[in-house]
Amino acid sequence: MTRKGILFHAKHAFMPNTLGYCGPDERGLIKEGLEDGIPGDSVVRTLERFEAAYPFLKLIARNTGRQVFDYEVPEAYWIGNSLLDRIPPPDFYSFSHRELQGKDHAKVRDLFRELDGKATPHHSFYVMSTYAASSEADGANVDNESEKKIGTLIDNCRISWGNVVDVGREELKVSYRPLELSGRTLALAEPRLKKVRYNPLVKPFGSVRRGAVVSLHWGYACDVLNRAQELNIVKYTLYDLTQVNQYLAARK
């Protein structure tokens, strides 16, 4: 287990935990670990109690000969990297049945059947496919207003990326491409400006500059991405979009 990997994971898990959407109610502990830059055992134990993120890390680690908190493992899950290409589809299918909480088995089966091995254990795929599968159950009232709400939800919940155009004390202005839902099709819209929060006490945000590319989760800047990560998050997000749109199109 590496400190770097734990920190990277904690940075991306922090905001949904703060909002109460995943993991135990330990936001103070995670924040403290991030600001110290030295996550203790208690932070690791907290991260191990996330109901979906941690099982995904275990899936990626055991299929690639890595430890759960090796940096490349949470990087694969949140951003995307070549480790994702090494997860055998049958293992991901089995994992989705047996290790993910509360999944509807029939929907998991339909999803994997439709995508024929193209599902990836990537956070964005999980987010988008959860909507895609959920939207069938009750025939959600998908008028324009509802599509806007769902699009905003998915956009906040996925990891997106933005180019920093202005740096405030605890706020960044970024240019980013929001994900939108229209006619049961997900797509990235044209770039627009958005204000997001960041914690200047969490490295490397104390020295973040205009032009940096940052990962975003629920209106919060998680980390500064390097060029390879920037390319990967675009690549895997577009791949996930294509797969989920195929699934949605088959059910129109």
Binding site: C22, D104, E136, A140, V142
Partner: protein, 76 residues
């Protein structure tokens, strides 16, 4: 990340509901404008938005699957 959770609606007012997620925490506030939820309804919630309403039998199956996995993983 956020997970799709199954919860039972306790109260509804102006498109917002208080939902019990059976996790021992206080009730969560959820936007239920997309589903016809009423007290006692089971809903599937993603983030703070109810995406669908579940039948009692569907909710039982999902809740049971959830409990099995949490018991196996020793979480909660």
């Amino acid at each position: 990340m956020c997970i799709a959770r199954v919860g039972r609606v306790a109260q509804v007012s102006d498109g917002r509901a208080r939902v019990d997620f059976f996790d021992g925490r206080s009730l969560g506030e959820v936007d239920v404008t997309m589903v016809k939820a009423e007290p006692g309804s089971y809903v599937e919630v993603f983030g703070n938005l109810a995406l669908s309403k579940l039948s009692v039998s569907e909710a039982r199956v999902r809740k049971k699957a959830w409990e099995e996995v949490t018991a196996k993983g020793g979480r909660y």
